[in-house]
Symmetry: C2
Subunit: 504 residues, 2 copies
Amino acid sequence: MAAEKITSRAKDYSQWYLDIVNRAGLAENSDVRGCMVIKPHGYAIWEKIQRALDRLFKDTGHVNAYFPLFIPKSFLAREEQMAEGFAKECAVITHHRLKAIPGGGVEVDPESKLEEPLIVRPTSETIIWNTYRSWVQSWRDLPLLINQWANVVRWEMRTRLFLRTAEFLWQEGHTAHATQQEAEEEARRMVEVYRHFAEEWMAMPVLVGPKSEGQKFPGAVYTLCIEAMMQDKKALQAGTSHFLGQNFAKAFDVTFQNPEGKREYAWATSWGVSTRLIGGLIMTHSDDQGLIVPPRLAPVHAVIVPIYKTETERAAVLEAANKLAESIRDLPLREWLNYEPVTVRVDDREQYQPGFKFNEWELKGVPVRVELGPKDLAKGACVLARRDLPGKEAKEAGVPLTKAAVRIGEMLHAMQTALFERARKFREENTYEVNSYDEFKKKIEEPGGFLLAHWDGTRETDERIAAETKATIRCIPFDRQKEAGKCMVTGRPSEGRVVFAKAY
Amino acid sequence: MAAEKITSRAKDYSQWYLDIVNRAGLAENSDVRGCMVIKPHGYAIWEKIQRALDRLFKDTGHVNAYFPLFIPKSFLAREEQMAEGFAKECAVITHHRLKAIPGGGVEVDPESKLEEPLIVRPTSETIIWNTYRSWVQSWRDLPLLINQWANVVRWEMRTRLFLRTAEFLWQEGHTAHATQQEAEEEARRMVEVYRHFAEEWMAMPVLVGPKSEGQKFPGAVYTLCIEAMMQDKKALQAGTSHFLGQNFAKAFDVTFQNPEGKREYAWATSWGVSTRLIGGLIMTHSDDQGLIVPPRLAPVHAVIVPIYKTETERAAVLEAANKLAESIRDLPLREWLNYEPVTVRVDDREQYQPGFKFNEWELKGVPVRVELGPKDLAKGACVLARRDLPGKEAKEAGVPLTKAAVRIGEMLHAMQTALFERARKFREENTYEVNSYDEFKKKIEEPGGFLLAHWDGTRETDERIAAETKATIRCIPFDRQKEAGKCMVTGRPSEGRVVFAKAY
């Protein structure tokens, strides 16, 4: 398994990505068009992501619920932008029964045709707001702060594991509020939760701000996003939070009596992140040796590889390894890890050699490797290796066994910070101000990256740039500097630069 | 909300159940035929169930993964029993696009017809074993011990919230083994995990053993189950674990090279429990006042209802309430609660009176209620009320605030045990040995319950009894006594009694 090297980033970035997904055991394509199988190691990372996000959602007052997988066709049609945005990529259920074919096999039973076709949810605004109609009567029933963990389906024609698949896993928050201001504050609060998660947990720096009109979610008044730079300098939209105004309340007749006794339409937000984050995690941190997982999201924090030749050595080394594992598990990291356990593996598999194990755990991105052999043991010491550092720099030999656990705790913290800093530095080094459209067209091809340019604020110009350069406005950062300028394309006035990039 | 009483069990058991589901905010029917909305309080119980089970699965060596929602129609046909068992209740996807109708609305785009229809998974043996084909090459790749948390769809014609719905949430374990013995041990291990969960967490006593041939899962060699008695004396199948032999390995050509270099088919198990458990939890413990939740699965363990009239009283009472809440949160119950937090609410909502709050929390099944008013506070005390005890017995007045947290911890433990004991006693009191088919036919109607009777072991007799009495063999308990006897219907020899009941 670990014998063959993975493709290097320099040689073929796309293949490098697929090699990591495959060789680290994260996911694979299934025999169902566009749908992936999330393999145990990939799913374990998703579980850590879920747990950390779920805690952040609950800490901001949200609760979970579950709404139907199926949406009546007519629901989609009620909100015009949504129908336009999703109609072309829907899995449609038309029948509810198969029947045996005489002689073998099964076929769709034409007698079982549904009166109204159902679609598999591509997103749940319609079914949820149809439900909220009966939940919201009075201002006392508001706000509704509800999140759902679910699978959704969008019939994508070109798929790529984690980044774009027909079925994916996600969470979708759907909140209802009595006032516009409250709803807008919620949309902002949640994009900040995403920023916090991306930066503090994924160690992935993000830009935060609204999308341009042309890039917003179908049905939204506006869309806020977090946007990250991958190692090929392309942008990845990693999470979105939408202010939906009263669009869905009007489409589904969700009104409440305000304290003055008048009926008003409720105000809405929705916000989501998906298994796409795993793609972002891979492409932000990993290297030519394999996956690198930020310690706070690592399914396994440390692996101890025992080294021995004789049976006597084996017994002594394993005893010390297990003892060390216990002391690592006892590290006071529970709060830092969202009350998830510190996970340590003693890799005592007999059928593999230590070298094979080193490679395998490196491929899988385990933050700290411990090497422990008879010579180390004789000195009461072990060797530690940190996954994110190159070559010799990664290794610390002669670490006393009595101090190894504490040192590993320090390494995990240091690695979490270092990954973020490395990614932030990379983004900064690949972000350029450009001042003419000619310069823009050149730079977006070479060297690529994030280009900060003035834009006149119109959808027309946005679309023209996208058509001519394949770069899109990724985000209008909240923290951009006010800077009067002229649109690089039309020369019309602009209030500040926006961020352009090619994107996934 | 809490003004109207719920229907009593004695008056109308079915309506009582629906009243609780509705009034405790657990679930409701959606506008999508047969699909339910799981509301926040219901979903919170499901989350606790998931967390506890997931820990038990991981402690027995399993990992999670995720497989596609869709299954090609032809996959289902490959395993004959499965095709027969599920073909009649499948949601079938035939198209992948809608298009706008000129003048408004959307319709299925006939151009988007799929070459092969897809079905929404009713269970995932087929898609998973199709995947295992490439995962299993050598005996070294075995066992595969994988679980999936997912939604599934079975197009049921008669649905009932939680107990039988078209879409439901569940977990499905799918394991592959090198030997028959290992697979059989796994099937047994997992039904014992379910027993442990049902009894220790849900406080729901269960019978454990194989189903009769006529009641087994389509595709299984045999099915083990846990079977509980509800308060109307009907049986609820609460979980199943199947030994699948080599059926799926043969259908999907999953072979491995054994240590001797020969290719063999892998051996399989699958096992699952679903949101149906919530129906079982409700019907095992609840009373005419509302839901009762066993403390280990309670989303909220204790609620403190402050009582006051003046603003000064309010400030003092709330301060004491919040202080008490903190001390309850600090109770050393983390291990007992699977490292989930002890959850306490101070119900400081201004718009409701204490009496309303008492009723609401009673309806929602919170194990312990704390009443705290100025008179209590003057004595440095509070009133505690345990949800499962009747009337006066439930209340403990004058509990010193300094000792209240510890007392609440004791109450939670005591309540968990008492719920189990009450349910066990109820089942024992409603279990009868019957020795003739006439007696059986009378007793199954009145008084009902579990009837222990001799049966000749044939599918024929099993089906005849079911057709004539609507009672089915629920389980052949592992721990039944060996007792030679004669089948109550045919007089043929029997090795011991089996358990009959009417069932959900």
